[in-house]
Symmetry: D2
Subunit: 310 residues, 4 copies
């Protein structure tokens, strides 16, 4: 259940497109079923990596509604970041009526000072309504908004409907420790923290106190396993699996072309029928494809799931 005790893995779902540019509904259904089968505890749609701005309003609602239904009760978190509060409210209320578990809100790049950031979340919550659970997205590399632990603390304490932090600051390990220390000292109520950044630091982030991952790596099974192994205290096993995937994780986490790599791998794995992106999209060159194939072949030696390609 999406809430302050959420754990596990919420894959960031890409939006599957056909070569024609239309949403590929068959791939969408297959992807959702697959997330459920591999042990995802929820999923996130219409995020930055989900090409959300390339959908028009009605497409976004149709896509969200379809996934919510198909998820059969698995909580679906919907990105509702928008240039204005009218659009944010409209999308948030519509998807919640359709059964979404909650929404994710990223700060707009223009925010600079602590008070501006805190004030923005107060206004966003007023706009969408205090009854909708939401997740803060803390992603300075892409959004250029820097939130200190104290700012996150203020947002959480000011807004009871804040239930989760998507952590993708970089570097971020000390930030996680600081937030959990605030909590231990009584200055911060508990919220779920799931981490992003393509999973690049998941191994240590788990040990610093996060509850799992919310990212789009094309082998979410690895994320599920590492989260489980780490939670069980199997440190070496968690790192062994993580390290086996790290060369590909790193390759996928390249800005701008990461989504192209991810969709290509998901296509090779039989989840997506096409790796097409709507414009303006990134693409993957033959040289890059060959590199990904090489990475997959090396990974397959240590994780057999990488050998099952179509």
């Amino acid at each position: 259940m999406f809430g302050i005790h959420a754990k596990g893995v919420y894959p960031i779902a890409p939006t599957p497109f056909a070569e024609s540019g239309e949403i590929d509904w068959a791939s969408t259904d297959r992807m959702v079923d697959w997330y459920r089968e591999i042990g995802a505890t929820g999923m996130t749609i219409l995020g930055i990596m989900g090409e959300a701005p390339k959908l028009d309003g009605s497409e976004a609602v149709e896509f969200a509604t379809r996934i919510i239904r198909r998820a059969q009760g698995l909580p679906v978190l919907v990105g509702v970041s928008a240039p204005g509060f009218a659009a944010m409210r409209s999308l948030a209320r519509t998807v919640m009526d359709a059964g979404a578990g909650g929404v994710m809100i990223a700060p707009p790049p223009s925010l600079r000072t602590d008070d501006q950031i805190v004030g923005y979340y107060a206004q966003a919550v007023e706009a969408i309504g205090t009854d909708i659970p939401f997740c803060i997205q803390d992603y300075p590399l892409t959004l250029s908004v820097v939130m200190t632990p104290k700012v996150i603390q203020r947002i959480i304490m000011d807004n009871p409907s804040c239930v989760m932090l998507k952590h993708e600051d970089w570097p971020g390990l000390e930030k996680i420790s600081t937030l959990r220390r605030f909590e231990a000292e009584g200055g911060l109520r508990h919220v779920s923290i799931l981490t992003g950044n393509g999973g690049l630091f998941l191994d240590f982030e788990m040990e610093r106190g996060v509850d799992g991952a919310m990212t789009g790596y094309a082998f979410p099974e690895m994320l599920v396993d590492v989260v489980r192994l780490s939670a069980e205290g199997q440190r070496d096993a968690a790192h062994d699996l993580f390290d086996a995937h790290l060369p590909l994780v790193r390759y996928e986490q390249q800005p701008a072309i990461g989504l192209a790599v991810r969709k290509y791998v998901l296509k090779r794995r039989g989840i997506l029928a096409s790796d097409a992106q709507r414009k303006p999209g990134s693409s993957i060159t033959p040289a890059a494809k060959a590199e990904v194939e090489y990475l997959l072949s090396r990974l397959a030696r240590r994780d057999p799931r990488a050998a099952k390609l179509v």
Copy 2:
């Protein structure tokens, strides 16, 4: 007519709201009629100053449609900048079907290199269709995208549907001269150039070769007069009128609170029933109101139109 020979003044229209946050249709109609009466040659809506992102999709279409009809043939330019091309295309085609004169496209803040900027406009034109006349918005201060004269040249030459440049680089006088020199030397076809920046440099911009103004100063009559006087070669008279308004022009041109000042003056002038903004909005303190009143009283000594307040 909106096109490469457009001249005069296209006021940037604010979106009138009631205190309740609803669009104020009576003020909207009054404002459009007033623009026509004072000699505007067109008008621009849903721009950055028009609080466009605060309207949801259906409101934006309703607002545009109402203004287009009310303008009775005066060309209406509609801002269609959007995070994605699907929404841009959708809004552009809808307003053109409703009778808009053309659209205005601002580059997204993430663009950096010359090729990225040129490529973005190519994709935008492909998205909306090559049959829709469009205006480039060159506004580095707010958009953080810097276009050299050569980049503007490439966009104009690559895209026959580009008919206008909204110039608000700062400093920008040499840029205007450079573009007009490109044209004189045969390297650039003619397009209309209207200037923004609150009109702060309109006096000299006219002398550098622009065709008029596209900005939201609350006394668009001054813009109309200065453009006319300058076009007639009445240099001193143009500067005398401009200088009389400059203290208020400068005050209105403050970032972040400029719109609040503008709406306050438009309310005092009887055009808007309220100076309300939708959230997140700026507001004007009692101290600032007193300053604006003082500026209006001083202006009234030199321009009687500033004495007629309600």
Copy 3:
């Protein structure tokens, strides 16, 4: 005396260069004498507009030392912003030993959060020593660091050696009022506030509670007069004089080319022998020169000092 009660006008002094690129010492002396004669209460050197980064270390010290001596007791504030604290400390201690009144410190552009900014000033003060009076430079447009009133309050209250704020936020009128309200309510000790931004808002800034101006407008006599008239309560007279200069103030305040305009006017006024800048410098085209001449001729009708050109 440079300190918490400093009032009046501290011109931002340009660095005079000969056409050869060498420092022009004769012009330097003439400029300093002139500042004293027109009633400046201090002066500021090696600021952003002073081409400080174009001097090497020994030149900067020689320039500062010469001006400090020539100023005959008028306090000289020296910009010591540097990429590292070693260079900042070295320059600060050297110029203080030479008799400087204090130093000015701008935040580096990388700072984002409130705590980062406050922490930076704490480290800077530790580096230069707590015995050197310093001025905060708050200039977001150029430095891209946004300081809230609360951040400025923290810096002032944390560091007893902070004696002045150079205010050039934009918009900034409410910030001045907020800081003075903090002071009236007992939450902030008094410091001097001098304003920059080329003087573009000096008329109202005085009324909001600043103590004067620190900026480089090429007619500092106007700044001196407006500060005096405003302090005497002669509101209309202050605005009349200010408004007469506003067209040129605005023209000079253009980023990137402002210094070229300023040096050109100072040359026309007989202060500088040359308007040369060291590379990378801006220059002024014949068209811009003609515009400045026109502005000067118009100004001369209302302020005879603009008629005395060489």
Copy 4:
């Protein structure tokens, strides 16, 4: 020899400090000897990671001079990026006189357009003199200046003294391929390309056509081996070694704290006597130290050099 045919590994040398903040000359000598012993083909000092701005002018010269002598003929590349050309020229000529192999120049963050970047390098070369071989630093993540392949091509073709590109764009694999394709097609003369980014993509960068690495990873032996293995065509062996180090490479490559990790590891390896940084410096928490120790222990199983700690 530093030049267009430079190959191999140029470690980015940190500046060793004692706990007191003084330069630690014994560690400096030991570090230089060590670089020579492990097969570095050159070294780079006073770079961004070298805490260059924290040295004052005379320290920088003394540090450079000492290293150049100690390097016994191994080419030393010196970072000379500075806020102004006077300081850049002064440092560049001084270190060249002392025997440096060449200099490295990063673009200042204010540059935006293609022409601005090309123009900056032209002015820098004019300032330092056309007789000093230089390396372009292409590092958008930290410098926020984005250079297209065409811009790099223009800088190389315009300036015969440009002999090397330090490549640390991200993502950057296609950029390398594009530059090498320009060269193959005859549009670009050959220069050496060494890659940075902490080595995070060195495995594939070698395969795309770079000549080696210039980065500060605390096991430069790995960089040397991977460059050699890759050059010999031993692809799997190169990747095997690289992948073994990747967990630590990734950990070290975190912005802001990377240098603290690097210095800590170099201290554990017996190269540096202290991991102290001058202020403002980053530090490494006990939790982070424990993580690094764990990474070292895991690495030691696959690379015995990681087991030799002091």
